[in-house]
Amino acid sequence: MRILTCLKQVPERDSRYKLNQDGSRVLEEDLVFETNESDLYALEEALRLKEGTGGDVAVLSIGSDRISKVLRNALAMGADRAIHLKDEAFERGDAWGTARAIAAAIGPEDFDLVLTGVQSEDMAFAQTGAVLAQMLGWPCATIVLEVALEADTGRIQVKRELESNVFERVELPLPAVLTIQSGSHPIRYATLRGIMQAKKKEYRVLTAQDLGLSPEAVGEMAAKVRHHRLLAPERKKRTVMIQGNAEEAAGTLMDKLVNEVGVI
């Protein structure tokens, strides 16, 4: 089983964002980045499949030097090799431009399965996996919680999450793309031994030219969605913010809930 897991680096969940002059981008200087959570669940699933059936887990990410942290961590968690797509041309892509670059990297390889997370926490398009599948001409299942291989049939069964506590089980032939939902299995940590071993693992850096892609075919140039500006979200309610230390705030809140709202 040859598996590729795609990982994205995103700002930490508790980040505070500052915008550039024209409000078109967030300033990256003060941000701390981490691996997108559902992508880590995808990697965990890949590592488990490999432990069950043998094979090879490659990891792929796109971005500048700072994303090497994501790939190094994945190698330390147990992935076998890393593919770093690094080129200014790949930057600021939407699902289309990003999937185009990943599809080109997959082209010469021989993967049975490609896993991504369900969606990124920054842009939240929730599309790259499904768009990639269509570009490759492979079947796809999104929002997957469990993956089971059917021995020697070249097919897999997966459990998908639907809304409101409903699930479905579907079967699809390999090669296939799956987008993995959080919560399937606890994510492992990199061990010290894993970190040491990671240093010896294959780490390839590929540019657009290496993939035979013109700059117009990927990233921002190929994007099908135009970004205009970032805005502060509108408040849906006039929130009363309660001030004071913990004791005062708790007292004020309970007082309001009893006397003003009348719910307690």
Partner: protein
Amino acid sequence: MTTRIVVLGEHRDGQLKKISWEAIGLGRRLSVELGMEVSLALVGSEIERLAREVSGRSGLEVVVLANDHCRHYTPEAYCEVLAEFARTEQPYLLLLGHTYQTMDFAPKLATMLDRGMIPNCVDCRCAAGQLLWVRQVFNGKLNLEVSPKGEPPYLVSLQQGAFPASEEDLEAPPRVDHRQVGLAEGVLRRKLLEVMEAVQTRVDLSQAEIIVAGGRGLGSKEKFQLIIDLASALGAGVGASRPVTDGGWLPKEHQIGSSGQSVTPRLYIACGISGAIQHLVGMSNSGCIVAINKDPYAPIFQVADYGIVGDVFQVVPKLIEIAREMRPGHPGSP
């Protein structure tokens, strides 16, 4: 010239989903603003009764794209049928609800049509004859205004509850355009084996008057006990956001949000919950919402009536203390 807006309706058990009525509402509004026609498309098999009912109620023409393989949803059959429809009809805009089903097939459909897709929009405005769409990014902390590039059709999905539903029953004579459509050989690769409804949950929060819910901010299963203690002191139900049930701190049946339960208690106290949209759709219609979180920019504050920016481990014990004093003799009291 493409001058038609098509709403793609999603249905289940013979009913159109609420989000599709919201898409119809927006489709109507945009048809006026852009001077275009609007109609509804439904994919399925034996859905004529539903089509007539929806057409009568909405006053829209309903196009039924019927194929036996679409009796149960699969992305390949749906995309095949819809791509063919989009190529022949060339609508200006395809409006969908942002549902799990849309997330599964719409990116594929857009790619088949060589188009992008703008998902999960919360707002829309018309500027210089162009539609600008607003979506939430960076965990709901910022909004991003976007527009599609290139030629129509444009594919857009709407966030649940973001646009008013078309509620009025127009009692119009039904207009249904039934089209039996074929599928090319070999397109169906993904096979549906079974649909599983979770067993009737032992934790029914839908009737709770008060819910105390905890999130990632609680940090561990042991520390989550604080939420259970506050709930007990208030005689409330215990809820959780996804990271809590993902981490196994609490059974899945306590999860509130799009993949769990939807609740509307009179009082909802969210502790250490940042307020991902998947959680908000399950609780934002609660009567009074209280949010306690250390991050002043957490999106949960956008829907809260009362907010405390602070450490749940300091604030919640104080709330427990007061609640126990107020309700002496209650099981949660010492």
